[in-house]
Symmetry: C2
Subunit: 299 residues, 2 copies
Amino acid sequence: MITWLIIATVAATTANTPNKAPTASEVLLKATNQDWRKVDQDQVLYMDLAQGRVVMELHPQMAPEHIKNVKKLAREKYWDGLAIVRAQDNYVVQWGDPHADDKKLKKSIKTAKDTLVAEFDRSISSLIPFTVLADQDTYAPEVGFSLGFPVGRDPSQKKMWLAHCYGALGVGRNVPMDSGGGAELYVVIGHAPRHLDRNVTVIGRVLKGIEYLSTLPRGTGALGFYEKPEQRVVIQSIRVGTNVPTKDRMELEMLKTDSKIFAELIEARKNRSEEWFHYQAGHADVCNIPVPVRERARD
Amino acid sequence: MITWLIIATVAATTANTPNKAPTASEVLLKATNQDWRKVDQDQVLYMDLAQGRVVMELHPQMAPEHIKNVKKLAREKYWDGLAIVRAQDNYVVQWGDPHADDKKLKKSIKTAKDTLVAEFDRSISSLIPFTVLADQDTYAPEVGFSLGFPVGRDPSQKKMWLAHCYGALGVGRNVPMDSGGGAELYVVIGHAPRHLDRNVTVIGRVLKGIEYLSTLPRGTGALGFYEKPEQRVVIQSIRVGTNVPTKDRMELEMLKTDSKIFAELIEARKNRSEEWFHYQAGHADVCNIPVPVRERARD
């Protein structure tokens, strides 16, 4: 079997080679507990499907009103029994109320708001962590990471925003900017559609279980919508982590993106020292640097 | 239903708006038959799975020895009955002989070669068409399109190569550069892994049916390999287009990437004039500009 891309095994065999730049696996082995941050269950959404569980994390500072509203929707069990209505190849999977446009059939929103003022970007602030990636980016003047999330920034406009990388969780909207509220959400399942940056309120990203979304049959309607009701994927429930019994939570940790270890990891991604690589790219795309996530040992 | 990204319908409703930059859909409506090139059936591979048919096109000039060998493999029906052995989320689907490492069980290659000298890149030549994309790229000094394929170039080294965008078709190899021959192939099903550029011989890309690969269950073994034989996806056949009865071929046309229409299409992708967009990116990633493909009317 030709494996053609070997990370774990090469790390094991080259760990003792002197004067060789470390691989990503080798860098990670050096991380101590202080290099990991515990994912806050109050910023976690669990989406349960027949296929499995999708775990998403919300950025606590980038879209505060939308995140507050999305948590309200989860707490009023708005999505329970609703469905994934769209799966467009190399683009997005989207869920919400299949009858959202039908005043009679649509599920009413009880405690949350229907729509909100858009939060496409935020003012750059020292209160919002940011670690710059030195590489040039096609779309943004500056890119990097904030609390483990890939972000774009425009220092001249003093703005920053969550970038549409694989796994990004965004708020569907209609043509008007302020027509979304969080009832309709989508996840990126293909090449980063960065042209959506600053056109949508992005609230978080998938940490675990994205394969339950990315492998869904593609919809055959326009934009990948499912044409028949029976093709839709029923959402069993979406819950905020703190509303899930402790025993049923997935306790996760994420490598701190403002750590020295993460800076080394970026270097290992830019210039891959695994024996398999003959050409070093010297660069890395912000959407091609996965932030390590691990399950946490129970206290 | 909040659709939040509307191409076709907006094109229809805004076509008469004066002084508005055309949308991608509007640009395409202007294309004449001269703007499309017929896909050469001698450069097409059909992969038939129980799920459906995947149609791939080979770049005739970028990896001539590998392409010659891959066609030989198809013509000796090498892959018939072999399998997709790997599906790694946000990365690749890979196929070949599950018993390639077992001298007794492996399928013998009859007319083709087992391995070839790597063709990771080619010398820039006026004989190989190239249309530059003005946008800066994270990985390559220069990017653009050649015969509909996204490519990277380094003018200082006088080299060009096929870029690992979504749908790229590459040749699996082991650690040595010259250890691949085409018997093991893979397709990119996630965010462009551009760090693989110039590390692998890329021979083409998927034109139709990639959803039959991108929705396959992900393998749970290391690197997404299927752990159990019954999880593998059997390949019914892989054929070169010219060896398929005319009635069973899919006749395709691709928009010429050296056409004025394609240049306009790039502009429409950089600055989206659809009413839905409130922020114009002003840029486009070479892997985020799909080259239009259409089924051809029969002669």
